[in-house]
């Protein structure tokens, strides 16, 4: 085994080459450590959300009381009609749009266009903040209708418990993401990353897309089931 082979990570074919490539020296992935660390964190966070959702599904099937109909509970009055899932549709649209502005910000970051990166990240943060705002509106609407973590007028008590717990935990993730985005955005504008490189914008983006993706699952399991 010569040193040259190890250092260049020369490729051997097949499974042998795969293991050799992954176990080569210095680093496994050709990315900054921060990005690798964010991926690992997100994997861990995936397990948290999975446990929440599996727990929710488990109590939903275990409870003997009927489960409230999400189309009715989450409906909103608009122009005299009861439109099912109206608010949630808007919230989901906004969050997915924010992923788009985030992706543009990553691109502008690698182009070292500090101004555009800053404004795109700020737009992402604002969209995220408006998502949290609408979530607060939804919470207050449900609370005014008598939904509580321990009971609700529509059926199984676990509906309120799981709803507030899971959307609350996700909302905290979005709020933390907004703060994270703002910190990085202002540092970008001040030129803090000129020497360090703009990978941080992509790392922030990874977190933001993750929060967005998790919302899709919560949306599917909570509002569509």
């Amino acid at each position: 085994m010569s040193e040259a082979v190890l250092d260049s990570g020369a490729e051997a074919p097949g499974k042998k080459g795969l293991v050799e490539d992954w176990s080569r020296d210095k680093q496994v992935f050709g990315v900054p450590w921060g990005k690798a660390m964010m991926w690992i964190f997100l994997l861990s966070d995936t397990f948290i959300f999975s446990c929440f959702l599996v727990g929710y599904m488990s109590v939903r099937t275990a409870t003997t009381d009927p489960w409230p109909n999400p189309s009715e509970v989450f409906a909103l009055q608009a122009f005299g009609f009861n439109v099912p899932l109206l608010l949630i549709a808007i919230m989901t649209f906004i969050l997915i749009t924010s992923s788009g502005t985030m992706a543009l910000a990553v691109n502008m970051g690698y182009r070292k266009d500090r101004n555009k990166t800053f404004w795109l990240m700020l737009a992402t943060a604002l969209l995220g903040a408006s998502f949290v705002g609408m979530q607060a509106f939804e919470w207050s609407k449900l609370i005014s209708e008598g939904v509580r973590p321990w009971e609700n007028p529509f059926g199984a008590a676990q509906f309120g418990s799981a709803f507030f717990m899971i959307t609350g935990f996700h909302g905290m993730h979005v709020s933390a993401g907004v703060i994270y985005l703002l910190v990085v955005a202002f540092r970008v504008r001040n030129g803090y990353y000129e020497k360090r490189g703009y990978e941080i914008v992509e790392i922030t983006g990874l977190y933001w897309h993750f929060v967005d993706l998790v919302w899709v699952f919560i949306f599917a399991f909570f509002y569509l089931w």
């Binding site: 929440f52 727990g55 321990w150 418990s161």
Partner: protein
């Protein structure tokens, strides 16, 4: 976009030495100092847990002789003893302590990749310990729900500590998980992304492999505990019914409806079983290195050992319900989980064979770390074999909740990892402190601990076969138990107190070493791994002076034929010494 590896970067720009006492020893970002902080805190809470176990044993050995132990206290002692030992001592010591100390040194890095987060990890861990200790002093005392905290009883009338104890316990666990995540991300990322030149994954010492895989297990298993802790806090404070079924409590209806206690057990053991391996895998890794070093022989089957660690880690996620055979879950689950459980015995037995074959015809030096390592092989085989009994549904049913279970898990994840902890501390003590320990005192410590633990746990297996149930405050007039069971309990208690007292020898040894111990050689064991090759002894901040080391061989070049020394350090180039058996890159 290609990225410059940390090992290839110019380090002068980022190298600041801490200046003041506070940045050097208190708010330190140096992985070695953080490791020692973790170690001291973990050993401190471990001593509290040891004291609690002594109280339990006093009651069991000599029932109703001690007025300060009533049934409520007894349950609190059981609970806090278990929780502290498993999480706040062993997890924190192996990953926060040894993980922090060994990963950067053995991988040839200057520090963890994110030292600030690493520092934060320790201080948040300390916060979780403080919350835990506060729960001893709140009204109602700490929780007495058993270390598994099963609902519904954990938060219902009649269980000690339902006022504040259970909430502080759950909060402390949540804070611990945050601390562990911050540290764990660092350990995994450092192993993946910050090794020195030539240090391929397949050249890493097995200690690093064990800690690395254990940390991944932790990052994927602790989420389940976090989620169950949050849900139980809500069940307790907000009267939600995640885990609480409609239930009557002392003739009144507490207001719960429709929750699932089994859900908690599934979530808890999805964490709880990997947790066993979070404690065991670092012990496996470290003991491999100690056996190889002190037997002056390469570890037998290095690649097999690595793949066995990975296989055990993977399998540990699909065996959790073997803790729940008597829970009332679907009986068909038992078949699946018994099968996966017994499959785990294959890579585990493979590791044991490899340890024994490493010793075979080795040039064995019976120094203190070696004694503890060989002791571990004994206790681990005994604990592992009883695991085969409990892994089978039909044998588990009568043995469930008896002292057989207590004896099994204490042998396999109590005594065994603790023997490795002691072996590892004696082994790396010269590197940490720069001084030697007292060999005679260490040998006394080993023999009394090793024989003493057998004297405690072998009789416990027998009690289990007799049907003596665990967790009982006192047995009362139980017909099926012979009177001799009580005599055996008294003997176990005396042995336990003896072993607990014996640990004073360890602390005496540390004090002796710090005050009068002779200065140690930079590499007193003639070991090959990089932490013994540092330019300073003990290593300073940044570990490697001006230049990072280069690794040229695997960690086990002992007694290579045709070389004057019986070891070749990993940083000796291939043209200066024979290549030995280099497994780097070979599969």
């Amino acid at each position: 976009m290609s990225y410059v590896a940390i090992a290839d970067r110019d380090h002068e720009q980022e190298h600041h030495d801490p200046q003041t006492f506070i940045t050097k020893y208190i708010w330190s970002q140096d992985h070695k100092v953080i490791a020692i902080q973790y170690g001291i805190t973990a050993v401190f809470v471990g001593l509290i847990a040891l004291g609690l176990s002594a109280m339990m044993r006093l009651q069991l050995g000599f029932p109703d002789q001690f007025s300060f132990i009533n049934p409520e206290n007894y349950y609190q002692f059981v609970t806090m003893h278990g929780m502290i030992m498993v999480i706040y001592l062993l997890t924190a010591l192996f990953l926060g302590g040894f993980g922090n100390y060994l990963i950067p040194l053995m991988c040839g890095s200057r520090d963890m990749v994110f030292p600030f987060l690493n520092m934060l990890s320790y201080w948040v861990y300390l916060l979780s310990v403080i919350i835990l200790l506060i729960s001893f002093f709140v009204p109602g005392g700490s929780t007495g729900a058993g270390w598994t905290l099963y609902p519904p009883q954990a938060i219902m009338q009649g269980t000690p500590g339902i006022e504040w104890g259970i909430l502080l316990m759950l909060a402390s666990l949540g804070v611990f998980i945050v601390a562990f995540t911050m540290g764990g991300l660092n350990y995994v990322t450092t192993v993946l992304q910050a090794r020195c030149k030539g240090m391929t994954l397949m050249r890493m010492p097995l200690s690093v492999w064990g800690i690395f895989i254990a940390t991944i297990l932790g990052l994927l298993a602790f989420p389940a505990l976090l989620v169950s802790a949050i849900m139980m806090i809500f069940d307790k404070t907000l009267m939600t019914s995640f885990f609480m079924p409609a239930i009557s409590s002392m003739g009144t209806d507490p207001g719960y409806t429709g929750g699932s206690p089994i859900l908690f057990q599934h979530l808890f053991w999805f964490f709880g079983h990997p947790e066993v391996y979070i404690v065991a895998l670092p012990a496996f890794g470290i003991v491999s290195d100690l056996l190889s070093t002190h037997a002056r022989k390469n570890i037998f089957g290095y690649r097999m050992m690595v793949w066995a660690i990975i296989a055990i880690g993977g399998l540990s996620f699909i065996v959790w319900a073997h803790h729940m055979y008597v829970s009332g879950m679907n009986p068909y689950f038992g078949f699946f989980f018994a099968t996966t459980t017994l499959i785990i015995a294959v890579p585990t037995a493979l590791k044991v064979y490899n340890w024994v074959l490493t010793l075979w015809e080795g040039n064995i030096h019976l120094r203190v770390p070696m004694l503890f390592s060989i002791g571990f092989v004994f206790t681990f085989i005994h604990g592992g074999l009883t695991g085969l009994f409990l892994g089978n549904v039909t044998i588990d049913l009568p043995l469930s909740d008896t002292y057989f279970v207590v004896a099994h898990f204490h042998m396999v994840m109590g005594v065994s990892p603790v023997l490795v902890v002691f072996g590892a501390i004696y082994h790396w003590w010269p590197k940490i402190s720069g001084r030697m320990y007292n060999e005679t005192l260490g040998k006394w410590h080993f023999w009394m601990t090793f024989l003493g633990t057998y004297s405690i746990y072998l009789p416990m297996h027998y009690l289990g076969f007799q049907g003596v149930p665990r967790r009982y405050f006192s047995m009362g007039n139980t017909e099926f138990m012979p009177a001799s069971a009580q005599d055996l309990n008294a003997w176990i208690t005396m042995s336990a107190l003896f072993v607990a007292a014996t640990q004073l020898l360890f602390f005496a040894n540390i004090i002796w070493s710090l005050t009068r111990g002779p200065k140690s050689d930079p590499n007193p064991w003639d070991a090959t791994t990089l932490e013994w090759q540092t330019p300073d002894h003990p290593p300073k901040h940044g570990n490697w002076g001006h230049e990072l080391p280069e690794c040229h061989r695997w960690a086990y070049d002992y007694s290579v034929p045709g070389y004057e020394d019986d070891f070749i350090p990993q940083n000796v180039p291939a043209d200066k010494a024979p290549a030995g058996r280099d497994h780097g890159g070979e599969h």
